[in-house]
Assembly symmetry: C2
Homo-oligomer: 259 residues x 2
């Protein structure tokens, strides 16, 4: 049997340590092609490049541990996946993995996540996909404790397949070697960010803001990704891009919308 074709991408950029680790893990599972942004794209959500040109070039980032084929792209993570599927890959990949993100994409962060937008874009195009994130924002984060879980989840996704319309959002707690207690399948916790705008004045006398904020967990459920992470588990959330709130359709049907 031929090895699976694996598309690897991320939102921190093609030189990010998280991506370089993911490439090494995936090379043990299949044939890897990398298409990743040439610069960091955190917080890009599901942005795509409509009004601007896209550049892409074949690159060698790491002679020894890199993939045989790597492309950097000037666009967003969603652009990278579109370009990979349409122009750069020899055939449809068996799976797309995105990450390993430097920082959490659990709970409401999934909405802002470039890592997950790449996975969702692949899912929209009918490719099974997983986003991996480590809950450690440091560029020098320790990815090794996550290796076993990442490979196992990827192998199981390939073995079991995934229904159209679903991708996986996998978050990994920050731990030392041996610190991961296991893997839990979860739902997305209810949460938001309490914004704080840091208002400053530039050298020309003009006011500007930095967006900062504090994460506010609004959900005490023990079936959530945030709970699993707090207990030392890897959190796997099946994630969909049908955003319909089916449970609320009947209520709106009772509104007076047609005379």
């Amino acid at each position: 049997m031929s090895k699976p074709l694996i598309l690897v991408t991320n939102d921190d950029g093609i030189t990010a340590p998280g991506l370089r680790h993911l490439i090494r893990y995936m090379k043990e599972i299949g044939d890897v092609v990398v298409v990743a942004p040439d610069s960091p794209q955190s917080g890009m959500g599901h942005a795509i490049t409509l009004d601007n040109t896209l550049y892409s070039k074949k690159v060698v980032i790491d002679q020894k541990d890199g993939a045989p084929e790597e492309y950097s792209c000037s666009g967003t993570p969603a652009d990278c996946v579109k370009l990979a599927l349409q122009e750069l890959l020899p055939k449809k990949p068996d799976i797309c993995v995105s990450g390993i993100n430097h920082g959490s994409n659990a709970s409401i962060n999934v909405i802002y996540s470039g890592t997950m937008s790449a996975a969702i874009e692949a899912g929209i195009e009918g490719v099974p996909a997983i986003g991996f994130s480590l809950c450690d924002y440091s560029w020098e984060a320790n990815f090794s404790p996550a290796e076993t879980a990442i490979k196992q989840i990827t192998r199981e996704a390939l073995r079991n397949g995934m229904p159209r319309g679903v991708v996986l959002n996998v978050n990994i707690p920050k731990t030392e070697a041996g610190g991961i207690r296991g893997v839990k399948v979860c739902r997305q916790a209810r949460a938001n960010w309490k914004e704080k705008f840091d208002k400053r004045t530039n050298p020309m006398g003009k006011d500007y803001y930095w967006l900062t904020g504090e994460f506010e967990l609004l959900d005490k459920g023990e079936d959530t990704d945030e709970w699993a992470l707090s207990q030392g588990y890897v959190a796997v959330v099946p994630t969909q891009f049908d955003l319909t709130a089916h449970h609320f359709i009947q209520d709106v049907n009772n509104w007076i919308l047609n005379e």
Copy 2:
């Protein structure tokens, strides 16, 4: 009873005709404050500005038909809502309306939509929210046939309230006066974009791409937004930001993820 406070925003920018129409309609319903991007932000998805400064200033775009208070902002639609709620509004608004977008945000377009990202951001922060889009990309689109439906949907949302976690995605067919057949509550149609990359060479001899594509409807259901629009109805889709694919949790629990 005091008039409701209405936050108006969009993704096409503060001078876009669709926004200017929406402001006029909302002034009949409540007290309007506008916080909108200073430049077009289409396709920005749920991007937020993390690594850059945000500028905002009070502006007057239209002395006669504008809102008493309008702010332009250098950020994305989601940034605008965050800044409005945290810094610019005197109190929490009763509703946030986003649009009227020049172009469809029905079916899978909701994922890429800056218009809907503003509505979703408001929803995350506990503010009832509606994104309005007209299925006509032209800057000179005829918004008038949509006026009655937009005001009625907004009034009903204010009167009935909306549960936390749900916002509305409203798409309006392109029609002449009197051409709208009514309002239908729908689910998001399954669809994707078949990308085509237009590959060119720049004057310096370097290859680049333009992202183009064709919309591909994969869903023949007569309960979808695309179907309603095709029949001349305004399509209202209750939209959520809990992306958990609850129906797939049990399947993934059967995968071998823990030894």
